[in-house]
Amino acid sequence: MKRYVYIDDDESSHDIYCDNRISNRKYTVLNFLPKNLWEQFSRFMNQYFLLIACLQLWPLITPVNPASTWGPLIFIFAVSASKEAWDDYNRYLSDKKANEKEVWVVKKSVKKLIQAQDIHVGNIVWLRENDEVPSDLVLIGTSDPQGVCYVETAALDGETDLKTRVIPSACMGIDVELLHKIKGVIECPSPDKDIRRFDANMRLFPPFIDNDICPLTIKNTILQSCYLRNTEWACGVAVYTGNETKMGMSRGIPEPKLTAMDAMIDKLTGAIFIFQIVVVLVLGVAGNVWKDTEAKQQWYVLYPHEGPWYELLVIPLRFELLCSIMIPISIKVSLDLVKSLYAKFIDWDHQMIDLETSIPSNATNTAISEDLGQVEYILTDKTGTLTENKMIFRRCCISGNFYGNENGDALKDVELLNAVSSGSSDVIRFLTVMAICNTVIPTPSKTGDILYKAQSQDEDALVHAAARLHMVYFNKSGNILGIKFNSSILQYEVLETLEFTSERKRMSVVVKDCQNGKILLLSKGADEAILPYARTGQQTRHFIEAVEQYAHLGLRTLCLAWRELKRDEYREWSLMFKEASSTLVDREWRVADVCQRVEHDLDILGVTAIEDRLQDGVPETIETLRKAGINFWMLTGDKQNTAIQIALSCNFISPEPKGQLLSIDGKTQDDVCRSLERVLRTMRITTSEPKDVAFVVDGWALEIALNHYRKAFTELAVLARTAICCRVTPSQKAQLVQILKSCDYRTLAIGDGGNDVRMIQQADIGVGISGREGLQAARAADYSIGKFRFLKRLILVHGRYSYNRTAFLSQYSFYKSLLICFIQIFFSFISGVSGTSLFNSVSLMAYNVFYTSVPVLVSVLDKDLSEKTVMQHPQILFYCQAGRLLNPSTFAGWFGRSLFHAIVVFVISIHAYAYDKSEMEEVSMVALSGCIWLQAFVVTMETNSFTILQHMAIWGNLAAFYAINWIFSALPSSGMYTIMFRLCRQPSYWIAIFLMVAAGMGPILGIKYFRYTYRPSKINTLQQAERLGGPILSLGTIEPQQRSIEKDVSTLSITQPKNRNPVYEPLLSDSPNATRRSFGAGTPFDFFQSQSRLTHSTSYTRNCKDN
């Protein structure tokens, strides 16, 4: 599907394409109620409540006033509906603001000011500096004579740097006045959401000379919601409008995530529902039998002899209603409330504020905090997540000479400085490539310094380093680059830019040296994307060594190369390149193919090494979280050796002999299969050993494994606690998450860049680091934090507390509902199984909604262990991971407790208030008071730490119970008139209540004490230790000093090269006879790369050890 956009001819497009009205709204005024209700009723719990509420409208069967269900139901629905309505109203307001913004538009060759919503496809839109772009435009003119303009795309992809956009060549040089009259056609694909691609063509109509088809790319567009910067004005043709813009298309409501705990609560609700049905059936049958036998003789009941057929249903339905409170209507409200409070605690947490940027942590998704406490796998990105993503040029190797190895900083290496000042041609070429083989834009600042706007941190580092080495890239005007070297100024004209893609892994520029007219190809890229294309005869051994050495140090390497192109060769190639870049179909692939044709026979200049420092506290965080039983996978686009080195330095994998690293590799299916099986065998053997076995896999092998050996790979994924996946694409990251999720593991994905977005959305919990690569990941994520080390606190403190609190809250909610329900069931046995409710409507409603939900809400302040203790003993997280606090067996405990308490309350009420005292209202209030007192003590018993708020809620609630009932007892019209005053004056009431408390809580206290003292869980032991101040606190200083670790890391990177054997084996993963390779003395682990050996597993482990 294509669309043809005729410039400034909106008649033709009016009907076909929508206008520029943006709508993010979910509802309209008319459809709000039905649509919202429909959404709410698509949930089982709500349907259930509605059914109950409807049944209650039938007076024959309802035990209580229908208001007792309708009230809370309407309240709950009103709360969620008004929340939705409020959100939607805000969206409407912001839409309106954007829609009514005034913009200059050319319509029928006349420039006029219209509202943004009236822009149509084909209109020419004029923008001033700092204007927001109202729709997707194809640039046709800018104030810049070269046709360049700058846009900030932060709203679109979160990247804060400026991007350049150029007008298409066809529009180059058109006079400002003529832009009003421009006519033409743009052929572009139907709207999609890919913000990095726009494969279109443009043809201008006469009199505009250039009648050829001109290719358009994303570089020629400015997209909706970007801002025009550093450009006086720009104008463009609207091609996509309204909700069909790239921004509009990529909006979408992410699928709501459900926590494991919610799933468990749903399951338990289902179980309770089944229990309820059974109870209803049993009581229904019993009731009908009683009715037919006994009730017929009870003349005062006056049962008619013949009833309508539905009489049979009446009693079961009555019991259904009587038991309907088994599924507490308040649980949804309570859970929503506490969950949003958990999220707020994360937002508020001062210990999770990034001090550098003072950005606090943020929980975008307020519903999944409990899952944080149940994380089993963390899949982490490397760059920017574990590391700071602050690239610093550290070392280089220029034609065989290593610079920067001694002091760790090439910029201070005297030899290099000497080489630069002596003007060695290799070095100068190297620096030239560093300076201009990029897409960096230099802008002079007011102070005279030069600021670089770079899209990639590596390029930024290289340009800065070149500048420090006196090769200053100071100006870019149009295609002319200006470079200052020492005092001379050199100029280059950029002819083509062969952009970086993750498939090509290199980028090149074709430039013309303005001094001598030579055409040069300058390339930089990953070693495997450059070194194989070296010109024949060049020795690449040095470079391979350098790459390997740098990779061992955890440095990022880039190979720089160049080649002189002959004029004819260039001309021929540039035609092909033009053609390829104007194709509409498979453009990316075609362009890559053409690029390949010129990027060969390269003259390798050298290797750069860029350091990306680990973030503060990363090793400790990983160590702590691994102690907490969380498995780590590192998914990175970086190369294997760098990844492994980073993994080592941040405790990701342990050095030999504690750790072992197995590699899955291979270029063909068979190779991968063999290697996979071998690793699997080892894994199976070593699972019993206390050894950290990790596997490492690269993108290629991973692709094969995922496509052909998914089962084996899944087994491996389950066995391996640690994995490093290198060179993986965003979609592979997402697939890996998928695999772990399919094995029922709770996964957390953490990343910072756009390439992590899919993984973050796929995982159970997505965490984004609001880092340097923009906010894209942080936006898509459920939680955004400033630094990796906050993850520890996020999981161990917030996740764990949330889990514990919700576990208590949800089970308690069932407990209290079951308690009152059991009493009703017991009562039905002494009321002729007729479905009489012991409690009146007011009490029932207030019990669920008020008396029992307030005290438990403050359990959000409960802390079983102090934060410090948890940090010292992260292993305690196991209780959350394994779901020890909310599962069918703990639930059975609560179920039993409610049954026991119901028996206590019921038996004591009916015996203490027997004979002459057995008045319905009084017995009912005695039983209700008993329930309230018991629940206050249950909450007290289950609370681990009492703050003033908890005391207020628990005891205040008890006082409120009496206050409210006294008020009701004072109203002559209420059914309970004077009841509560009468009761409170009777000694037997108080005696009965205390008896209930003692009889109900005594056994529970006894059991709890016994288990606490003689069968303590780890949590109990830690509680005791913490509160008695025992020796444990001194024992468990797991957390090492941050400083010392950092020192270790830095010494590692400095000292290792010296100790190491200076000669390295070639690291070519495809060399068939390369067997297991050691990284030399002091290199810490085992690394397998062979396919030939270890065909028999028996000798396998021995072999490893021998070596």
Binding site: I22, A98, A154, A155, S225, Y227, M247, E294, A295, Y300, V301, L302, F345, W348, D349, T357, P360, Y801, I830, S831, G832, S834, L861, Q875, I908, I910, H911, A912, A914, Y915, D916, K917, S918, M920, E922, V923, S924, S945, F946, T947, L949, P972, G975, Y977, T978, S988, I991, L995, A998, A999, L1005, Y1009, Y1014, T1021, Q1023, A1025, E1026, R1027, G1030, P1031
Partner: protein, 344 residues
């Protein structure tokens, strides 16, 4: 996703908004650092709690038991004794219009201090049956103008097309056995004033509401009411309308305001009118004194003694275990983390 929608509309510059984000306010609440007391279950605390409970409960139990034992109670079950031995169909007999007067005598075995409460007790009578308990109209009882609001009273709502006052099954089935007491030949007056709740007389049953059209329907229920006395003075009805929660219940019939001495014989002439025979319910006549805890009911005393005893036993057991098998709380040696992380 507030951020995405804001960005979608593009009304604000998100970067600027982010930079300006204020540091969240610091307070002990937001940092979850409110000072908290964290009690733990130390042996000392738990054992003393159990001891305390037993120390408090045993005396209360003893007191309750003594109070209950001090109550003198005479219970006489009469529903079978008051049927002439030659009657085979008891239901037919009770529904017939024959003279159902019955004389019984009660022996006072212990001195009974006035006031002595006279109760009738019904067993196996479900005043709490759903159909029964709902069949009343409080509006009608309270307010003369609400005479017609009988919708809740079905099936005893109207008779002969006119509303029944008081309507409903409860009123309709009003207990109608009567008792008169003699000590020797001397009549013992039974005070039937003030046997109902004061609040009921004053607020629930209207002073100007008179029985109307009562017991006029095809099937006759229980007692009839004097149509010239307002409901607020029909105390038997008021007592009866306080439905019982249990199928066994006692309702106050009246008070004897003189002491009865040990050895006295009380002759009771009773009209055995109420039909409990169709559902084999029992009828009992009860004379009882009262204590601070109410009538004779050993349950609370026994329960208190049991709970107190059990608590004492638990305290003792925990103490013994504590000394026999001392266990240091929070011993780090229980903290071995050698679990299998994959094994769940």
């Amino acid at each position: 996703m507030a951020s995405s929608s804001a960005a979608g509309a593009g009304s604000t510059d998100p970067t600027a908004a982010r930079r300006n984000t204020k540091r969240p306010k610091y307070s002990k609440f937001t940092q979850q650092e409110l000072p908290a007391c964290k009690p733990i279950l130390t042996p000392r605390a738990v054992i003393s709690a159990f001891l305390l409970v037993s120390v408090v409960f045993v005396p209360i139990g003893v007191a309750a038991l003594i109070a209950s034992r001090k109550v003198v109670e005479i219970v006489y079950r009469y529903e079978s004794k008051c049927i002439p031995s030659n009657v085979t169909d008891r239901v037919a007999y009770i529904q017939s219009s024959a003279d159902k007067t019955c004389r019984i005598s009660l022996d006072v075995t212990k001195h009974m201090k006035s006031p002595i409460y006279v109760y009738y007790q019904l067993d196996n009578f479900y005043q709490n049956h759903r159909r029964y308990v709902k069949s009343r109209s409080d509006e009608q009882l309270r307010d003369r103008s609400e005479e017609g609001s009988t919708s809740a009273c079905k099936p005893e709502d109207t008779a002969n097309g006119k509303p029944i006052v008081p309507c409903g099954l409860i009123a309709w089935s009003l207990f109608n056995d009567t008792y008169s007491f003699f000590r020797g030949n001397k009549n013992l007056t039974v005070n039937k004033k003030g046997i109902s709740w004061k609040s009921d007389r004053e607020h629930k049953f209207g002073k100007d509401v008179f029985p109307k059209n009562f017991q006029n329907s095809s099937i006759r229920g229980g007692a009839s009411l004097n149509e010239s006395i307002p409901l607020s003075e029909q105390e038997d009805l008021i007592v009866w309308m306080r439905t019982a929660a249990l199928p066994t219940f006692r309702k106050l019939y009246g008070k004897i305001e003189v002491d009865l001495n040990e050895g006295d014989t009380i002759n009771v002439t009773l009209q055995n009118n109420y039909n409990t025979y169709s559902f084999s319910g029992r009828k009992k006549l009860v004379l009882s004194t009262t204590s601070w805890l109410g009538g004779k009911n050993d349950f609370l005393g026994i329960a208190y003694l049991t709970v107190g005893g059990l608590c004492f036993f638990l305290a003792l057991a925990f103490t013994i275990v504590y000394f026999v098998k001392p266990r240091q709380l929070g011993d780090p040696s229980y903290l071995s983390w050698n679990r299998n992380p994959g094994g769940h």
